[in-house]
């Protein structure tokens, strides 16, 4: 996770898999900056 520290991150999540919000929580904890986040519903 150290590789994310100080980086800008774009997140593409999926409702029936890993939601964007869950990824955001992880990358923020790793010290990254979230510049875009979305969760898609494919159904």
């Amino acid at each position: 996770m150290r590789i994310l520290k100080g980086h800008k991150v774009a997140i593409f999540g999926e409702r029936d898999d890993v939601a964007g919000s869950a990824v955001r929580n992880c990358v923020l904890a790793a010290g990254a900056e979230v510049v875009y986040e979305t969760t898609s519903c494919f159904v």
Binding site: R15, D17, S21, A22, N25, C41, F42
Partner: protein
Amino acid sequence: MTDNPVIRNCAFCLVHTPDLVRFGSKPRRELEAEPSLADRLEGALRSYAAAVAYPPNQTFIGNLSPLQLGQIPKPWFAGQSPRNSAEASGPFGEIINQDLFYAALRQANVLQPPLVALTTEAAQKLAKLLAAHPVFGPLAQSAMAADPAGFQQEIDAGKALPLRTGGTLQGLVRGDNRSEGAGDINLDPHTLLEALTAKTTGALALRWLLHREQMQPDQVDYIISCGEEATGDRYQRGGGGVAKAIGEMCGCVNASGMDVKNFCAAPASALVTAGALIKAGLYERVAVVAGGSLAKLGMKSMAFLREGMPILDDSLGCIAFLVTRNDGASPVLRLDRGAVGKASIGASTSDQAIYEQLILKPLRALGLTMADVDRFAPELHNPEIMEFSGSGDVAHKNYRMIAATAVLAGEIDKAGMRAFTERIGMTGFAPTQGHIPSGVPYVGHALAAMQAGELSRAMFLCKASLFLNRLTSLFDGVSFLLESQKRQP
């Protein structure tokens, strides 16, 4: 638990509407951008016989169980039906053809001049078809007169959409072209076709529910519609009224009703609401009904064209349930305090927290564990549709999260996830119709298995993508437990 309500009966129907696929949101946009796509799209449409024989469709109406479906090798669309002669009717409902749907759609109109009009030839043929149908005959309450000619001019002027069977024009659907409706995009031909489709298919499912229960329409006390369509004009887009429109069409003269909105989880929310109305003693018989979604026809059609496959999302789904006081026999809807799972606003940023709220908290409130549940019914989308379009097996993804929840709860080891999923899971079989596949397609199979003494408890996990309204980043979840009253052998 004796004061809890029961789900006494249900109905599941599909309406095969290949000539309406072009009016689904995705095909419509693609055709506007590339009109020459029309021939390819039309060439990939399935026949009614192929839609009837399709194993997931046979599972939806109850001729196959989800476990039997899981034993059939894919691709399902290319194979033979496992039944010697696939039937359009099943224990839960029927796969309805397009002609019958057009006839019912004409009967759904209440305006003058009519929003739905048929050619002289079609009116004569379709009126007989509807009146002769053993379940839908009562919908033919008024004479289906032939409508004036001049349809093509209205269609060419953009004032109406054509209703076709292949190359033959059967009729049209108009916008509200009266002075009070003209210019309102909420009352244009397309939006009203969506709304009329929801009403008509909801009525078809409710008629099947009344037929299965051998119940008169005037015995229904209350109707809750849980479809996705927003109905109303420019001043109250999404105002509702679909439940009572469906009830009116079916002759439920003693019922009132309302619409419950919660995206795909609306049927679960509606069942819980219906049960609560029964448990509170307000009503004795509440019908929960959902019509199909025109917008979602052909949603994955571009993937099917790319793969050289038939268009598999060519059918509207419609469902109905009867919730009553405990009759001492039907499966119980557990509405004890804490028994209904919810995704609280504060928990909605973590999958782990949501699954804990949807599964573990309700079970703990009832003194149960996940081991006490025989089957879990999450999003039950037909995997053949989802996998070919690149979205993966949605049911399987949900089972993976359910199994992970069992691991985190200390109920199983990580190594046991696969075996656990096989014990509590099933193959998805529902059409990609938004609110239709969300857990509740298993209710019919669960009721049958519980009546046969083969199933004790089923938990339904239904999700809703609230974020699609652009007002929140949340998604929602609703879970409920259905429990047999029969002693296990």
